[in-house]
C-alpha cells in the first residue's frame, strides 16, 4: 500500500512555512494567510521570551554559545530559546548578560521565573512550525471528515505526552506513551532527590527536561527549593531519565503529527464509523 503523503506542491509550501516558523514564530502562519493566529503566536512567544530575558538579566545567553560575525552581528545559540531563532538573535544583539557586566545572577530574585518563561517560549515557538504546516495541509488539501489537522496533534503532544495520539483516536498509544514518559520523568526526579531539575545547576539536562511540556513546566518552580545535599547513588541516572523523557516526547510529537497527517490524507471509507476527534484552535 502506497504511503499517504501530501502532494508535492503542498509539501513545498509546508517546508517553506516550517523554515519561516523556525526563523520567527508566527511568520509561517502569516505567510500561509493565517494572520490572526500568526500574530497571536508571534506576540505570545516573543513577549514570553522578552519577559524571560528581562527577569533573568539575559543570563540565558551564558548557557549557550555565541559568535560575532562581520565584527558586528552576534549570533547566539542557547537552547531552548534559540528555537525562536530570530527573537533570540535580536535579543542577543540588544542585551547583554548581567554576568558579563560583573554582577552575580543570585542578585536577580526572579531569574528562575525568567528561565521558565524564556524556555517555554522556545518550545512554544518551535511548536508553531508543525502547526503552520498542518494549516497549510488543511488549506491545500481540505478534508471534510477530519477535524484534527496534524499540526494540532503535534502541539498537543508537546504540551502533554500522549495527548496528540489520544485526540487522533489512538487511545492505546496515548496511554502507553503518556504513562511511560511520565513514569520515566517522575522516576528520574526521584532518583535525583527531586533536585535535578534546575537550569542553574544542570543547564544541559534542563534543555531535554523542558520538552516534557506542561508536567515539567508546572513542577519547575515548586521543585526549586529542594536542594541536593549529598551525592546520591543514582543521581546521574536521574538526570538521564528526566532529560531523555523530554527528548522522547519530541519523537512522540513527530509520530502524532505523522499519524494525524496520514489520517487527514486517507479517503473516507464507506460504512466506516466516524472518528470522533477533539479539535483545538
Amino acid at each position: 500500500m502506497a504511503a499517504l503523503v501530501p502532494a508535492d506542491a503542498t509539501r513545498d509550501r509546508m517546508l517553506q512555512v516550517i523554515g519561516l516558523s523556525f526563523l520567527f514564530p508566527g511568520l509561517g502562519h502569516l505567510v500561509a494567510g493565517e494572520r490572526k493566529l500568526g500574530l497571536a503566536w508571534m506576540l505570545t512567544a516573543n513577549a514570553m521570551l522578552l519577559a524571560g530575558f528581562q527577569l533573568a538579566g539575559a543570563t540565558q545567553l551564558d548557557f549557550g554559545f555565541s559568535w560575532v560575525l562581520f565584527g558586528a552581528l552576534k549570533v547566539a545559540i542557547t537552547l531552548p530559546e534559540s528555537l525562536n531563532f530570530g527573537g533570540t538573535l535580536l535579543l542577543a544583539n540588544i542585551t547583554e548578560s548581567v554576568e558579563g557586566s560583573g554582577r552575580f545572577v543570585e542578585y536577580l530574585p526572579y531569574r528562575q521565573i525568567g528561565y521558565l518563561l524564556s524556555g517555554v517560549a522556545g518550545i512554544v515557538s518551535i511548536a508553531s512550525a508543525p502547526h503552520a504546516a498542518g494549516r497549510v495541509l488543511a488549506q491545500m488539501q481540505p478534508n471534510s471528515h477530519r477535524k484534527l489537522h496534524p499540526g494540532q496533534a503535534a502541539v498537543m503532544s508537546l504540551l502533554l505526552p500522549g495527548w496528540g495520539h489520544w485526540a487522533s483516536g489512538r487511545r492505546f498509544k496515548a496511554k502507553l506513551l503518556g504513562i511511560t514518559l511520565m513514569l520515566m520523568f517522575i522516576l528520574g526526579l526521584a532518583l535525583g532527590g527531586f533536585a535535578d531539575f534546575d537550569r542553574q545547576r544542570h543547564g544541559y539536562y534542563w534543555i531535554g527536561q523542558m520538552f516534557m511540556g506542561l508536567p515539567a513546566w508546572l513542577s519547575y518552580l515548586p521543585l526549586l527549593p529542594v536542594k541536593m545535599g549529598t551525592v546520591l547513588p543514582y543521581q546521574d541516572t536521574g538526570f538521564t531519565f528526566t532529560s531523555v523523557a523530554g527528548l522522547f516526547n519530541i519523537v512522540v510529537a513527530l509520530d502524532a503529527y505523522h499519524r494525524a497527517e496520514a489520517d487527514w490524507l486517507r479517503p473516507k471509507q464507506e460504512g466506516a464509523a466516524e472518528q470522533v476527534e477533539e479539535g483545538v484552535a
Partner: protein, 70 residues
C-alpha cells in the same frame, strides 16, 4: 553506593521506554506495537550490558595498569 541489580532494573526500565517509543513510531496497530517492544527492549538492554561486560573485562586485563610491560 549504587547496586548492580538496581542498575540492571533501571537499564531494563530505560530500555522498555525506548522500545515503547520506537515501536510506536514504527507501527500504528496496538498488536504490532506490543509485539515489537520486548524484542527492541532486550536488544538494547543486551547491547548495553554487553558493552559494560566488555568494558569491565578490558579494565581488569589490557587496560589495567599492572598489565603494561615494565
Amino acid at each position: 553506593m549504587s547496586n548492580i541489580f538496581v542498575q540492571l532494573l533501571l537499564l531494563l526500565f530505560f530500555s522498555f521506554a525506548l522500545a515503547a517509543v520506537v515501536s510506536c513510531y514504527r507501527d500504528d496497530e496496538p498488536e504490532a506495537v506490543v509485539r515489537g517492544i520486548p524484542r527492541r527492549m532486550f536488544l538494547f538492554a543486551g547491547t548495553v550490558a554487553g558493552l559494560a561486560v566488555l568494558a569491565y573485562v578490558l579494565g581488569v586485563t589490557l587496560l589495567s595498569p599492572g598489565s603494561a610491560p615494565a
